[in-house]
Amino acid sequence: MLVYFLKRLAMVVPVLFGLTVIVFLIMAMIPGDAATAILGAYATPENVARINQQLGLDRSLPEQYFIWLGNLLQGDLGRSYSLNRPVLDEVLERFNATLVLAGAALLLCTVFGLLAGIVSAVRQFGWTDRIVTFFVLIGISMPSFWLGLILILVFAVNLRWLPPSGMFAIYGGGGPLDLLAHLILPAVTLAVVATGVIARLTRAAMLEVLRQDYIRTARAKGLTERRVIYRHAFKAALVSVIPVIGIQAGFVLGGAVYIETVFQWPGIGRMLVQAISTRDLLLVQGGVLVVAASYVLFNLLADVAQHLLDPRLKS
């Protein structure tokens, strides 16, 4: 088990290294540069050259990359020129906000996805199943940024129950209740698609397990239906659902890009959008690195959990 874990961990390094090279190349290939973004209409070749020189962007691409890599190994991600502060400070601060949002969304989609999947499998072709399946279909099909806007319109503008944007109240805010009030709308919006996906897969996995002989045996032994479903069927189904939850964690992180923009959540997704449009290479690198690392980590954790749950994989 430990060997497997270490092996997987060692594979993370080349993945992240390759990723930084790709991001570097993409940022170099897309037209426009940081100096043009800073100067806007005033971007004469002369002014651009001056700014590029001041930002160190007049060096060759490999040179820029290796300087960045060298600094990275010393824990320095460089300085963002669009925000005029160290990339590491910005990335960590923003990533915390994203973790809160993505964590809440992941919790919601896991709980409701599993529950909905179980219920609809147990009541296959019944009314409950039809209703759940219908909502799951809507959830999966709905563009989440649109859902976000509708939720803002209903719950913030019309009903005034919840704040429309931000993470804390601007004045006199702070504290867990304030955070919770700001978190509900974006977390629900972000969770909807993933809930649908998890519900579908849980339903399928449960249906398959419920047809197995040992379930019939368990029922024949006279166990309560509840015990059959939770102790026997659900635990077996969970093994095939867990990797999907790991993948959904990645989608939730990716979806945060839109949702954070709609709800002005101060997370890393919104930071990346802004960093790309201002061609802030170092900020993009830092942000992508952290998001990718956490994505890989989530999947690793899902794999480990699967190993722990599935006796067949233990050897």
Binding site: A37, Y42, P45, N84, S165, E225, R226
Partner: protein, 526 residues
């Protein structure tokens, strides 16, 4: 089996309770605190170092924290004294001597004096200045005419220019010319932009990244303390979310309201809508190096063919006015009142196209997806394409993202495109024509004349106007220039944008300025 439903139901109920409890605790959700103004900004500021920034969004904060030597008189683009009480210009127009206001302090407590002025401009302009590395300073070229800044005595400072340069005073009123506290720059170095100190009506208090910038009342302000206790600037990048915050009471003032929402606010007595035309021009650059626009008749035809009334009324929904020529009317003193916009006259356009010998060849039109001051560029571009098709022009649109677009347009249109959208917002009537209409401003000479307009008469007039120190003489020259350029039609003149803002009914004494700066000193909130 009922057990499962019960679990689901109780979980749902529990979550709903938790949710209600959470917003039940937030009764004051819709109320912003009294005497504190909350402003919805369009983006997170880059920096609060006035020399380091280029965006209007950042200027809106800076103009309330710093002062310049001069400022624009309320409601105009003409300069009046600010930190300088008076000034003298030498007869050759090369030396400006300022007498400074005495007894003014920076927010950090250090005194404002001639040395602070010298420090501000030496840091901006001289690469060997010990604090030049706190930059980069992208708009330093606003003061490239400055040769030397000398301290004559504690409250007298002289600027020596390398050539007569009339826009100098007006550039001093621009954010790039705001005076910074030398002590604060020395203390914070590169982080000065996050720890700003000026002499303005509000003091910097707090910057919480991506949430708010807070400034508080400067009780000792030399021009009278402001009425507001504090101002909070909130970055809300998404326009729809900004509107939602305004409607739900999360902000007191928002700028750059989408045209679609403006009428909704105008009809609601809980809100007040403000509009102000500014020094902005939206135009089409025509490529004069290649057919068809190497002929004046073809260029005028485009001006006649475009239905500008429909553009400002339907596409821009009244958020802009029709432009008559290259100079926006906001520069009242330099604007030629006699200039009339090209009327919408398709027949005339057809006749002119025939005269120019245009035979339906394809015309390439660069359109951007969006950018600073570009309004609604895709919708405007397609409307223009349709107007030109109406008179028989075969226009092919190529759309680019803003940074890419600038990378294509600024080096010149030759060999690539026949026309391109463009918009400028400037602070002096000199800037736009000087950078975009002179022969010496062709892209290969470092200017922005991407359509290669060249008229020796205009070249002479613009040089002359820049060297003159008499405002009346400059005004006459600019008016003459507008007439010639209007006739030569190197551009299609389309629109002057009106800046807009919405406040809640509790906000008083708010005015938009033609400079597009947001000045909050006199604003009050009930």
């Amino acid at each position: 089996m009922t057990g499962i439903s019960r679990v689901l139901k109780s979980t749902l109920a529990g979550l709903a309770m938790a949710g209600f409890a959470a917003f039940g605790m937030q009764p004051a959700q819709a109320q912003t605190p009294p005497n504190v103004l909350i402003v919805g900004q369009i983006a997170e500021p880059k920096s609060l170092d006035p020399q380091a920034v280029t965006a209007v969004n950042d200027f809106r904060i800076l103009m309330n924290v710093y002062d310049g030597l001069v400022r624009y008189r309320d409601g105009t683009l003409e300069v009046e004294p600010a930190l300088a009480e008076s000034w003298e210009v030498s007869d050759d127009g090369m030396t400006y001597t300022f007498k400074l206001r005495e007894g003014v302090s920076f927010h950090d407590g250090t005194p404002f004096n001639a040395e602070a002025v010298e420090f501000t401009f030496e840091r901006l302009l001289h690469e060997d200045h010990p604090y030049h590395d706190t930059g980069p300073f992208p708009l330093a070229f606003y003061f490239s005419a400055v040769d030397e800044v000398t301290v004559e005595d504690e409250y007298t400072v002289a600027f020596k220019l390398n050539e007569p340069y009339a826009p100098f005073l007006s550039n001093l009123a621009y954010p790039t010319g705001l005076i910074v506290s030398p002590a604060a720059v020395k203390e914070h170095g590169s982080d000065f932009g996050r720890n700003p100190s000026g002499t303005g009506p509000f003091k910097f208090a707090e910057w919480e990244s991506n949430a708010k910038v807070v400034v508080t009342r400067n009780e000792d302000y030399w021009d009278g303390a402001p009425s507001l206790e504090a101002v909070v600037f909130r970055p809300i990048t998404d326009a729809n979310t900004r509107v939602a915050e305004m409607l739900s009471g999360g902000i007191d003032l928002m700028v750059e309201v989408p045209p679609d929402n403006l009428s909704q606010f105008a009809d609601d007595q809980n809100f007040a809508v403000y509009e102000q035309a500014g020094p902005h021009l939206w135009f089409l650059i025509l490529n004069m190096k290649e057919p068809p626009f190497d002929k004046k008749a073809a260029r005028q035809a485009v001006n006649y063919a475009i239905d500008k009334q429909a553009l400002v009324e339907n596409v821009l929904q009244g958020t802009a006015e029709i432009a008559a020529g290259p100079t926006p009317p906001a520069f009242a003193w330099a604007y030629n009142e006699e200039l009339e916009p090209y009327p919408h006259d398709p027949d005339r356009a057809r006749a002119l196209l025939e005269e120019a010998g245009y035979d339906g060849e394809e015309v390439t039109f660069y359109v951007t997806e969006g950018g600073s001051g570009m309004l609604d560029p895709v919708a405007m571009g397609t409307a223009i394409q349709a107007d030109l098709a109406e008179v028989g022009m075969n226009v092919n649109i190529e759309t680019y993202e803003w940074n890419t677009f600038l990378g294509e347009v600024n080096p010149g249109l030759e060999g690539k495109a026949d026309m391109a959208e463009m918009a400028w917002m400037t602070n002096d009537p000199d800037t736009l024509p000087y950078l975009t209409l002179r022969t010496q401003a062709f892209p290969d000479k470092g200017g922005f004349n991407s359509g290669y307009y060249s008229n020796p008469e205009v070249d002479t007039i613009l040089e002359q106007a820049r060297r003159s120190t008499e405002q009346e003489e400059r005004a006459a020259l600019y008016q003459q220039m507008q007439e010639i350029v209007h006739e030569d039609a190197p551009w299609a003149f389309i629109a002057n944008w009106k800046q807009n803002a919405v406040t809640t009914a509790q906000v008083e004494n708010f005015e938009l300025q033609p400079s597009f700066f947001l000045l909050l000193k006199d604003v009050a909130k009930q």
